[in-house]
């Protein structure tokens, strides 16, 4: 019967993406995540640790995969991150959202925008008008077509990581790719 081949990222990392770390890094870690998902919250801390360990050998990309049916605030939070990104503050908002997963209602999103020193009038208007809904949907569909199978789902150099995303396992998988010719 069919053999399981690692699912592959179908949308390559490019200019549309939010990228953390050295642009010349040999290894890219892509995460599809949901801001209201507790597992993604745990993964957020793990990714930070891994980035600290790997230095400029790794770059990290985050794409949205909100599970809107079970996480009522996830879609809005994703749009908030994009709205912050439009004001060059994607990663600040990203961190604030994961640090406050219990508080992702609109009032709190506005507070985070203030904390990140954004133009809050623009931020609020763009959220209300759903300016980034299409962008979040693009991320989501790229995940679906790439075989994202839950949140978080990680891809290491374009191949879905099917092992545990706990620290040791994820770091080991990354290092295996780093060490391969």
């Amino acid at each position: 019967m069919a053999i399981s081949m690692g699912a592959k990222l179908i949308l390559p990392v490019g200019k549309r993406d939010h990228i953390l770390g050295s642009p010349n890094a040999a290894v890219t870690l892509v995460e599809y995540g949901d801001y209201e998902c507790p597992y993604c919250g745990a993964a957020h801390a793990i990714v930070k640790k891994i980035l600290a360990i790997t230095g400029d050998q790794l770059r990290f990309v985050f794409r949205h995969f909100p599970l809107t049916q079970i996480h009522p605030h996830a879609e809005r939070a994703a749009e908030a991150a994009e709205a912050a990104g439009a004001q060059d503050s994607f990663w600040e908002m990203h961190n604030l959202l994961y640090e406050h997963q219990q508080a992702l209602d609109d009032a709190h999103l506005l507070r985070y925008a203030e904390e990140a020193h954004l133009d809050t009038v623009r931020f609020a208007r763009e959220l209300a008008e759903g300016v980034y809904r299409e962008r979040v949907r693009e991320d989501f569909m790229s995940g679906v077509r790439s075989g994202v199978n839950g949140t978080p789902t990680f891809f290491i150099n374009g191949v879905r990581h099917d092992g545990s995303w706990q620290m040791e396992s994820l770091l080991a998988a990354i290092e295996r790719v780093m060490d391969s010719p």
Binding site: S4, C37, P38, F65, L67, Q69, V144, G147, N149, G150
Partner: protein
């Protein structure tokens, strides 16, 4: 014919049925008082998602994921049916908890009978494999895939199969 006779004479397939084969028809409970038959959907593609059990402890488990992607399946006019050996009351609780908007079928009595007919029953575990089957509008299997039991296969294979189905239909109609 008893199940033991059927098995000893290998009347069940050894492994998952593949493309081209007629999909075994079945009727299963989709709730404590409802039943669903494969033939109810004749004329439309059907996605059968066999999975081992309800209630795995992750947010985006396979059924929740497909629930999220349902609008994409609907674009092909396809119906999604989840199947496990759990009973109808278990399915009802799980479905309500995950707010699922597609039927979960109880392959409960006889246990795993439909999974056996599709070649996707795990005798040792007493559950089905994690298997996907796409059936065309004429009741023929168009694509199938068995995922390792602990790997959620996601939806990309299903969507590709549905696309292939609809482009085949267009080709046949001479557009």
């Amino acid at each position: 014919m008893s199940k033991e006779n059927k098995e000893s004479q290998s009347q069940y397939p050894e492994s998952a049925l593949e493309a081209g084969v007629k999909a075994p028809v079945f009727t299963l409970p989709s709730g404590p008082d409802q039943k669903v038959s494969l033939e109810d959907y004749r004329g439309r593609p059907v996605i059968l998602a066999f999975y081992p059990a309800d209630w795995s402890p992750v947010c985006g488990d396979q059924m929740a994921l497909y629930n999220e992607i349902l609008p994409e399946f609907k674009r092909f006019n396809a119906e999604l049916l989840g199947i496990s050996v759990d009973g109808p009351w278990c399915h009802r609780a799980y479905s309500e908890h995950r707010k699922l908007r597609f039927p979960l079928l109880a392959d409960f009595e006889p246990k795993g009978e439909v999974a056996r007919e599709y070649g996707v029953y795990r005798k040792g575990d007493g559950t089905s494999e994690r298997a996907l089957v796409v059936i065309d509008g004429d009741g023929r299997i168009s694509w199938s895939y068995v995922s390792p039991i602990d790997v959620n296969p996601g939806a990309d294979g299903i969507l590709t199969a549905l696309e292939n189905l609809s482009s085949k239909k267009e080709a046949v109609s001479g557009d």
